[in-house]
Structures are given as structure tokens and as C-alpha cells.
Amino acid sequence: MLMLYGMGLVFLILAMLWGVIAIFQRIDRRMLATEEEKAQRETAASSPPTASIAPELLAAILVALDRYRQEEAGKISTQKRYSPREIEQGQARWVAVGRAYQLRSNIVPRRRNSR
């Protein structure tokens, strides 16, 4: 009995999760379809070149692309996020540029807006 209850519950819950994912998939596909339609209208006549590429090469490209995307994703989000090291270095550069400009503005006298 317990076995039945137990396995029944497990199957029930995972089936529900299946349902949840299925709904996601439908939404994804619909959204993608819209995007693809747009894309197709834009790229119109150009045919996909994948057919003529050796599968090993295709695989390599896929991997490289994925890797690149991951790295880019990491980099971008790092830049946007609060990340003191980068900030400090960024600041150092800014400050240095600022210093240089303001040193120059002391060396070469020129019109200032300040009183």
C-alpha cells in the first residue's frame, strides 16, 4: 500500500512538472515562431548554410559559439553588476584620465567656467 501511495505521489508530481514544462515549451515555441517569422521576412532569400558543413565542423562551431556566448554573458553581467575590483580599476583609469586633463588645464592656461 505504502509503495503504491509513494510511487503514485512521485509519478503524480513529476507528471505535473511535465505539464508545467509543456506549457513553457508552447509559449517558447509561439514566441520563437513570431521572432522567426520576423527574421525570415528580413533574411528572406538567403538559405541556411548548415547543410553543406561537415558535422564535426558544425559541432566545433556550435561549441565555440556556446563558449563564446557564455563568456560574453559572464562578462557583460559582471560589468553591469556591482563589482568593486572592476570599479576600482575602472576608477583608476577614469581618475588617471581626469588627472591628466586637469593637470593639462593647469599647465596650458585656458578658459574655465569656474569662478
Partner: protein, 371 residues
């Protein structure tokens, strides 16, 4: 006198039980180093067993280090849950999201839990002990530790040791069962790659919704599924790399070391050297086998239902034991046809097994913890 009495307090207190347990600890270290069976856990467990069984060891006294570690993270279930955050941060649910029907294979791969539970009851274990032994069939270390520590903490040592040792044996346990239950012809089935797109939105929403759905249905599963999915959410979000890194590395490594030592420390001679431990050793193998068989047979059944190109071998990956089971599937499939690539499908079933293990752990707790 003083010199000799001081020198011999330890030797005086030495029992045969201690000697045997030190040998068991040595054996675990041997498995860890020479056989490379899950060394990051078995080595600390073995070391903990030796350190706890040296006579008069202050490490397991009331304020001993191993006692402190046990109280700090095993007794209160902190350590296995923190490890789950790290596992979640390392898991890619992509293959599963592309083929969600795999979730059923994950469910089937938990049959060994209840089968073993039943058998343990027959062998005379009480209901909580039986459930703890059954959970070996989840084939997932932290789940086994979490559940057995809650239901029958005195069996934590042998259960954890059995769970991790056998997990390393998956490449030896599974193939014979796979060859016996799945015909050559079936093993040759190629599976087309399903081109279901998975958006970033789906990947981010998935861990959140799984937590809510499973949490609402089985509140006892909230800690396990919640921490697993928290790790995955952080990974997929892409905006908290620092926390993901801390979960995967700092937290996971430190906690693994402490968890292993603390579990080893529970393996005192008086608790471990019992017939029960031997039975758990046997029941563990049974759980692994039953899980695998159930997964395979259910996959066969599923193939009969859908009548499509489904290779029943991937059912074996539903037991979890991530990622070894998926690799075993790929290997056995390639034995028959070198150009058959099932790995990604198996990974889907494997991550499904991971989720199903956690759900099953919660179900077991819901059914037995209250009583």
C-alpha cells in the same frame, strides 16, 4: 608507573570493535585513493571513522571537533542542504526542458526506494529504519543523508557509506542489468534530437516554479528541492556569478570535508558492527538493481505506448546518480552501434532522476516523519 599508566590508557581501552572499525576506516580510504570511489566523501568518512574509533579519542567527546562538526551541520541537516545549492548551481536542466517526458523515467527510477523499504520491513527493521534504508534507492548522496538522519540517525553512517560506495559502482552494477532486460535490437535504436527551443526565460522560471509546485504538494520536500533549485536559479540568472562560485567551490568543498568527517565519526563500533550494517550493504545493492530495472522496464513500456524511436536504455539514467548513469547509457549504447549518441537524452533522464530523487525523499518524509 605514571609513565606507563599514561602510556597505556589508550592501549588499555582498545577493544576488538575499535580495531575492526579502524580497519573499516582504512578500507574506505583504500577505496577512495586506490579505486577512486567518490574520494571527496569516502576519504573524509574513512578518516573520521579512524579518528572516532581510536580509544578515548577527545575528537568525539562532548566538545570534540567531530562532535562540533556533527552538531553544526549534520544533526540540523545544514550540510546536505548546502551541498544541494552547489549541485543545483552545477546542473544543466536544458536537456530535460527540451524533452520533459523524461520526467516519467525519473519517477520510474525511484521504484527501488519503495521496493527496498518493503523488503527491509520484511527483514525486521522498524518503519523509520526501513524508510531510511529505502532512501538509498534515491541514489543521491545528500538526499540519503538528509532523510536517514531525520528518520533513523543511528543508521546514518552505514547508509551514507553504502550510498556513496555503490554510486561509484554504477558503471559495474548497471550494464549487466541493461544487457539482460533490453534486447540488442532495442539497444541499437537511434533517437532523433528534439529541436525544442528553450528560452532563457524558461530556464529561469523552471527552478522557481518547480520549487513552488513541489513545495505546495509536498511541504517536507521544500528544503531539498528549494536548495537544489536555488542553486540552479542563481546559475541560470547569470547575474550573481559571485554567489554561484561561492556555492560551487567555497561552500561545497568546505562542507563536503566537514560532512565526511562528521559522518565518519558516527561510525562507532557499538553502532556500526551489527548485523544491520551487513543487511544494509545487501539491501543497498538490491535498491540500485531494482531502480535500474524499473527504469529500463518503464522505458520499454513507454516505447510501447508512444511507438516512436525511444531507446529503452535511457531508462537506466532515471535513477539519478548524476552524471555517471548517463555516461553508462552512452557507453552501453555505443557498444552496439558506434554512431549512436544517446548522451544528451540520457542527461535529460538523469537530471529528471535528480529531481525525482528529491521529490521521493520528500514523499518518504511526508509518509513517515510524522508517525
Amino acid at each position: 608507573m605514571n609513565l606507563f599508566s599514561t602510556l597505556f590508557t589508550g592501549l588499555d581501552a582498545l577493544t576488538w570493535g575499535n580495531v575492526l572499525m579502524i580497519a573499516v576506516g582504512g578500507a574506505l580510504i583504500y577505496l577512495a585513493i586506490v579505486k577512486e570511489y567518490e574520494p571527496v566523501l569516502l576519504l573524509p568518512i574513512g578518516a573520521g571513522a579512524i579518528l572516532a574509533n581510536l580509544p578515548l579519542s577527545p575528537l568525539v567527546g562532548e566538545s570534540g571537533l567531530l562532535t562540533i562538526l556533527y552538531k553544526a551541520g549534520v544533526g540540523n541537516e545544514l550540510f546536505p542542504l548546502l551541498i544541494f545549492v552547489g549541485i543545483g548551481a552545477m546542473t544543466d536542466f536544458g536537456p530535460l526542458l527540451e524533452q520533459p517526458y523524461m520526467l516519467l523515467l525519473g519517477a520510474a527510477g525511484q521504484f527501488g526506494i519503495f521496493g527496498t523499504l518493503f523488503l527491509a520491513l520484511l527483514l525486521g527493521f522498524d518503519i523509520n529504519e526501513a524508510a531510511s534504508i529505502g532512501i538509498i534507492g534515491a541514489i543521491d548522496g545528500p538526499t540519503s543523508i538528509y532523510v536517514s538522519n531525520m528518520l533513523a540517525p543511528h543508521l546514518l553512517g552505514p547508509i551514507a557509506v553504502v550510498a556513496y560506495s555503490y554510486m561509484s559502482l554504477v558503471p559495474i552494477i548497471q550494464p549487466p542489468i541493461m544487457r539482460a532486460l533490453i534486447t540488442k535490437k532495442e539497444r541499437r535504436i537511434h533517437m532523433p534530437y528534439s529541436e525544442n527551443p528553450v528560452s532563457r526565460r524558461t530556464r529561469i522560471l523552471f527552478p522557481i516554479l518547480v520549487t513552488i509546485v513541489v513545495g505546495l504538494l509536498v511541504p517536507m520536500a521544500i528544503p531539498l528541492i528549494g536548495m537544489l533549485m536555488l542553486g540552479n536559479l542563481m546559475k541560470e540568472s547569470g547575474v550573481v556569478q559571485r554567489l554561484v562560485g561561492a556555492s560551487e567551490n567555497e561552500i561545497a568543498n568546505v562542507v563536503t570535508l566537514f560532512l565526511g568527517l562528521a559522518i565518519g565519526a558516527t561510525m562507532q563500533a557499538s553502532v556500526f558492527l551489527k548485523m544491520d550494517t551487513l543487511l544494509i550493504l545487501i539491501l543497498g545493492i538490491f535498491a540500485f538493481g531494482l531502480d535500474t530495472a524499473a527504469g529500463l522496464l518503464f522505458a520499454k513500456f513507454l516505447r510501447w505506448v508512444v511507438r516512436g524511436p525511444l531507446n529503452p536504455l535511457i531508462g537506466a539514467a532515471g535513477i539519478s546518480a548524476f552524471p555517471m548513469a548517463a555516461r553508462v547509457v552512452q557507453k552501453v549504447a555505443q557498444e552496439e552501434d558506434f554512431e549512436n549518441f544517446l548522451l544528451m537524452h540520457a542527461m535529460g533522464a538523469n537530471t529528471a532522476g535528480q529531481i525525482a530523487s528529491v521529490v521521493a525523499g520528500g514523499v518518504v518524509l511526508a509518509l513517515f516523519a510524522a508517525k
